[in-house]
Symmetry: C2
Subunit: 346 residues, 2 copies
DNA sequence: CTGTTAGCGCCTTCAA
DNA sequence: TTGAAGGCGCTAACAG
């Protein structure tokens, strides 16, 4: 079934059908209704490919994910997909598979760039109208993406040069909230297990945490910092450092769940009780950490939301060529479980 | 840049360029090389949309996933995507989001069918050449999919009516292997926590397990069955049943990780030690269960493989209209961790 | 307000 | 072995 046949059935020209379908051109209300009636009856829908060829718009967006098996990706995808579909866009998926290809070495920029270029070429061939780039590690990706003639939105990462639009989440406020939560449970000596030094989110989580503690009257002298690199093992290592301390914090905020669990695991192996002996808070709300004992109190990143907002931003960009905000920042939410105890009177 | 321009640059007709590019028609080797040279130099690649319009082939496949946030989906997607891309196909993603929409009630067939129909229509409009349907729950989906004029391959589910091609995994052999593993660790009294009764995989895991035990000389009288429904809570419930037994199994095979962890959790809460007091084996190798204490011995389902094989099957189907096997069954692998102890002499 | 028509970029038949 | 030309289904400029 094509437009010509519909036109014949309706006794009008193909142009009329096109007008009716797209709401363009001039056409009498009566005819429009008649045509749409027939369209509906026949279950006709225009050939998207022909339309694309003609209009140079594919109504398709590409989602490039750094690694689909990474914990954030599915939820981000979910958000993007839902919004895009609701708005008549088809979603093409491209998985760079970075975890396997370059391992944890997220700074192998050159290698990344080659892989990425290939993916971009695929999108180019598919003639997508826009691209969402979803990272598996919140970091600066400027210099990674080639300059591109179609709109790109970054999700779960950012671009120091501010050349790209991006959608990310707030590290500072939630870290403050954690500090206040711990203080509210009467912890006076607290620790923090940091992510990689160079990481912006790590820096923000640090400063937010400290700020929150100060607001609660906890002196920076009563804050112990442990170095870490986001990995499980560095959580274990932090526990070994912790153990050597003479004055020990009663609660530790690990900048991500993996380190939190590493710390917990080491503590439990050492015969400590959590949260009685030491309280711990994570960050990420990873599925992987769902069944720890005790259940880990942590932070949920608004991943679906980020997906949705990036799709929204991208669609606006496609339509208008520009958007108000270059950067959208969404709030995280605190997930209270069982790994923090209240300190009784001293 | 289009074919006409390339033709002009090469001093030939557009037809010649098309022949050269596609290896069709008759053209002298010399000309072919010359043309390809120019194509390469100019970085030209044919317009896929125009090509699709003309050939009625979109070189695109649709992947419909029941829920992208389900634990199996990303790995399956990964496998499909990789294979499809390698073979010049673009992948369109459609997420039904069943977990949210219909919850755990996987038998709300009618509702599913409506959601599914919408997704199929999207694929139809996008004119995909074929579809992979990836379930989030291994079950019979016959009656769910509408009859379709384009090839469909089912992944991680099956079709009792054998009308559809499907790619799945082997439950029986691996369950036998588990039985033998437990017997090899000198367990003489063992248990099994079952999945939903109506489930085929549950039945197979059961029979495989029993068969394996028998082969090791363990009498069915020494096998305790606990009912379950795949959920965490039914694992806990199984522990309560277990506790009431006078003669107790020393090892339990839970048909999935969730129930295994539920059982473990209840046992640990009850002051039992795992694996010293009771050994446990799960099934699924879910990320969610990665950090239990002790680490859970379980079964890994070949998800990437299933993705890859379903894509492969689909592409063959697209090319030839049919394939040798209606059903591909892949082996699972045993993942040994820490939740099974060896029984010392009696 | 309505209809005719020229392409979008490509493939493929057919004639040379 | 080569090239001219028609047409896939649609949109939009233009003529009526």
């Amino acid at each position: 079934m094509n437009m010509k046949e519909i036109a014949e059935l309706a006794g009008v020209s193909v142009a009329a059908v096109s007008y009716a379908l797209n709401g363009t051109g001039n056409i009498s209300e009566k005819k429009r209704k008649e045509i749409l009636e027939i369209v509906k009856k026949e279950g006709y829908s225009p050939n998207r490919i022909a339309k694309s060829l003609r209009t140079k718009k594919s109504s398709t967006i590409g989602i490039m994910v750094e690694d689909i098996t990474s914990f954030q990706t599915p939820r981000i995808l979910n958000g993007i997909n839902e919004y895009a579909e609701k708005n008549g866009y088809t979603v093409i998926l491209n998985n760079l598979g970075l975890l396997k290809k370059t391992g944890k070495n997220i700074d192998a920029v050159c290698e990344h760039r080659d892989i990425l270029k290939k993916g971009m070429e695929l999108f180019e061939k598919a003639q997508v109208d826009g691209i969402v780039y979803a990272s598996h590690h919140d970091r600066d990706v400027s210099g990674l993406l080639p300059q591109f003639h179609i709109p790109v939105v970054l999700a779960y990462c950012y671009d120091m040069t501010h050349q790209n639009y991006c959608v990310t989440y707030d590290n500072t406020d939630i870290s403050k909230e954690i500090a206040k939560y711990l203080a509210g449970h009467h912890h006076k000596d607290v620790g923090i297990i940091c992510g990689a030094d160079s990481s912006r989110p790590a820096q923000k989580r640090y400063s937010g945490y400290i700020e929150g503690l100060e607001e609660c009257g906890i002196d920076p002298e009563h804050v112990w910092s442990f170095t870490g690199d986001w990995e499980f093992e560095s959580g274990e290592a932090a526990y070994r450092q912790y153990k050597r301390l003479r004055v020990k914090p009663t609660a530790v905020f690990a900048m991500n769940d993996l380190m939190a669990v590493g710390f917990m695991d080491a503590a439990l192996n050492d015969g400590k009780k959590i949260p009685e002996d030491i309280s711990i808070v994570g960050f990420d709300n990873r599925q992987e950490c769902r069944f720890t004992r005790p259940r880990l109190t942590t932070v949920d990143i608004p991943l679906e939301q980020m997906g949705k907002e990036s799709a929204k931003l991208l669609l606006n960009l496609i339509k208008d060529g520009e958007a108000d905000d270059r950067k959208i920042i969404l709030p995280c939410s605190f997930v209270e479980k069982e790994s923090v105890a209240t300190i009784e009177s001293k």
